[in-house]
Symmetry: C2
Subunit: 231 residues, 2 copies
């Protein structure tokens, strides 16, 4: 880890620990089980419900998986209202998959320097990073997607792409997989992208097993994007 990154991580940890001490009231902070596939999902006020819970539905049916929520506060309401409880404050946490949902809350979080600093350090200790919807705007703003192929919510396409011209944005794709970073289009596209990720990680049979279990109709062709944007 470079010195600057280490310092950023340390600052984020200190700030989070303070937030934890004053604000975390109902959480058990336990590390991931070493034997599990570790999924960490960021939540923030006004995240979009299905951005988070669509992928969690599918990924959570894989064997030997553990899912933890991470956020700046212990209680986090979605845009639709219901609240989730985080497992971890914003500390840097090694994981196999980092999930970044989108939603109206990104309009505020895009100016949250602490969150963006955490994101930079957190992506370094995450094997794979998976953004859904406007979650990619946070990665783009932090400069994490510079030079990479990515996509985002097609209803908010002009706003997201205006934030960074250093990203190779795709206007017609349900998801884009560029090495470490998997980015999906809006809301429901995250569920399709999650099944794609499962197929890559555990094979197509496993993705199809989970698709059936959820009585889902998986759009498995990323170029079949009914909401593509004309540029």
């Amino acid at each position: 880890m470079k010195r600057r990154t280490f310092l950023t991580a340390a600052i984020a940890t200190v700030i989070s620990t303070k937030a934890f001490a004053t604000n975390f009231i109902a959480n058990e902070v336990k590390p991931f089980s070493e034997s599990k596939f570790k999924i960490l999902a960021l939540v923030f006020d006004d995240y979009e419900t299905l951005d988070l819970h669509g992928p969690i539905e599918m990924l959570g049916h894989m064997k030997d998986v553990e899912i933890k929520l991470i956020g700046a506060t212990d209680i986090v309401p979605s845009y639709q209202g219901p609240r989730v409880l985080t497992n971890l404050p914003l500390v840097i946490t090694e994981c196999d998959l980092l999930i970044i949902p989108g939603g109206l809350g990104t309009r505020k979080e895009i100016d949250n320097v602490i969150l963006l600093d955490w994101l930079k350090s957190q992506t370094e200790v995450s094997t794979k990073v998976f953004s859904i919807c406007t979650g990619s705007v946070l990665l783009a703003k932090a400069g994490i997607l510079d030079g990479l192929n990515a996509t985002t919510n097609k209803m908010a396409y002009r706003w997201v792409t205006s934030i960074s011209n250093k990203v190779k944005w795709h206007s017609k794709s349900r998801w884009v997989d560029d090495g470490k970073f998997l980015t999906s289009s809006g809301v429901s596209a995250g569920t399709d992208a999650a099944l794609y990720f499962i197929s890559q990680l555990r094979g197509l049979d496993e993705a199809n097993r989970i698709e059936r279990l959820a009585e889902y109709s998986w759009n498995s062709d990323r170029l079949n994007d009914p909401y593509s944007v004309k540029e």
Copy 2:
């Protein structure tokens, strides 16, 4: 309200209030805003993530809607692990729409007499009742669906239908709407049924607006059921 029903409701309220006093630690218990469309969603341990959050995604985009979670404890983990925080303990609460998700947790809850008694009283003060997946097994066990048309999860079809032969079970239908009771097939079918409900309540244009907003591909034909069961 008949005397027996009133007594059942009163017992459930007393039991819940006790649970509330000892167990509710982090909740603000506020009544619904009178001017809103009131949606109450039951949660229990090991509910299925998408059963709840798929419908909440779609219904939560309607204008003037308020969604509250209700359950026996304040913190409720889904089968996939992440935890939601309830807004209300199991008290009888008037609402416009009552949501009953399914999931592995129904195997235990089907023998929870307190929950089933609450369900009987709660359905009486709910204008519409919407079950997803194996959520219908709780309604069936409580005798609430006797004589009515309904459907359920197709992967657990034989188990659910074995619980009550007084229900007219449909083996090929993404959802069944029989007056007060809307029942959907497994997991993802709840999202399609939610859009159907929106189209009935607020018109097809509103359902299509929300479908686009979520970049979803709505299966709007209930008889187009890829997971139908041969009987």
